[in-house]
């Protein structure tokens, strides 16, 4: 079993008020020096069978059509272990 991770982030030009709220809370908690926070989603997929080019192509298709909304989000696919 191999794990494939799909990270989904709001596109850079899209306002992320949740990330901003986190960033503004940091100094109050004593964590200084963070100028920006963007919040995203991480999907961990346990893949049955080999993670070959065909399997990765299907996962990219899944990310593009379902896990991410490419109107507002970018995604990255990574193979782990």
């Amino acid at each position: 079993m191999a794990r494939v991770v799909v990270d989904v982030m709001l596109k850079p030009e899209i306002l992320d008020p949740q990330g901003q709220a986190v960033q503004r809370a940091l100094p109050r908690l004593g964590f200084d020096g963070i100028s920006d926070v963007r919040q995203g989603k991480r999907f961990e997929l346990e893949v049955e069978g080999p993670v070959d080019d065909a399997a990765l192509a299907r996962i990219r298709e899944m990310a593009e059509t379902f896990l991410a909304n490419t109107v507002i989000e970018d995604f990255a696919v990574k193979v782990e272990s």
């Binding site: 709001l10 899209i14 306002l15 008020p17 949740q18 709220a21 379902f66 909304n69 109107v71 507002i72």
Partner: protein, 243 residues
């Protein structure tokens, strides 16, 4: 013959009963449609009501989009059947790409629940024919993921083609991120929606989506006593009778 207007229920839909009632108040037959049925029971139009279908998991409307009923609705909408998406229904319509753009978390991070002033920008859709261009109406708004977003060129295209159907109206509606906030008396942009957009249509004008809730404002007895929402449903009836 009475027109038949379908109202879809997904798991997590909240406003299906109010929507059915609004359809009946307007003089049509309300036909409940279940998310697992591909069959639309020969309805003449469909409303996707508000709520939190599939718990808004992943993104609001993202999972409902793949339900069997939506396959048929997408097909029929492309063939010209009138479809209205309210709130969560609007989110479903953007996820299906029947309407462009996407909905994001409100810029103020508040769940906003208030009577909202809107300007009807065009009466040239299946769902707004009973209004006049520029008419101001007030209907309830209630959501946390209502910030309409699309690429600049898409927004320009919507404006040029007259497909911005509703804008948030009143003082304070200046399109500024941060809007007027949740407690500003129903005026202005409640959530940072780009260009104050509250609702849009497809190019043919048969598919309309908006965040505020016309189905909650159809009878003088309840709410603020205004019946500004009724025009949505009477508009589509006229269209169906004329067809």
């Amino acid at each position: 013959m009475t027109a038949r207007v379908g109202v879809v229920t997904f798991p997590g839909t909240l406003d299906d009963r109010d929507t059915q009632r609004a359809v009946r108040v307007a003089g049509a037959e309300a036909v409940p449609l279940w998310h697992r049925d591909k069959d639309l029971k020969q309805v003449d139009a469909v409303v996707l009501p508000g709520g939190f279908s599939y718990g808004d998991y992943l993104r609001a409307g993202a999972i409902s989009r793949f339900s069997p009923v939506m396959e048929t609705i997408i097909e029929q909408a492309k063939a010209g059947m009138p479809v209205l998406g309210i709130c969560n229904g609007f989110q479903v319509l953007t996820e299906t790409h029947l309407l462009p753009g996407a909905m994001l978390r409100n810029d103020n991070l508040h769940f906003v629940c208030r009577d909202q002033k809107l300007r009807v920008e065009t009466s040239a859709t299946a769902w707004t024919a009973d209004f006049t261009d520029g008419q101001e109406i007030s209907i309830p708004l209630k959501n946390i993921d209502g910030r309409y977003t699309a690429a600049e060129r898409v927004l320009d295209e919507l404006e040029a083609e007259g497909r911005v159907v509703f804008r948030y109206a009143g003082p304070g509606a200046d399109g500024r991120a941060g809007g007027a906030g949740p407690t500003a008396g129903g005026y202005g942009n409640p959530n940072g929606s780009l260009r104050d957009i509250a609702g849009i249509s497809n190019a043919a004008g048969n598919v309309v989506g908006l965040m505020p809730h016309p189905e909650h404002a159809v009878e003088p007895l309840i709410g603020t006593g205004r019946t500004d929402g009724l025009g949505f449903f009477t508009s589509v009836l006229k269209k169906l009778v004329a067809a």
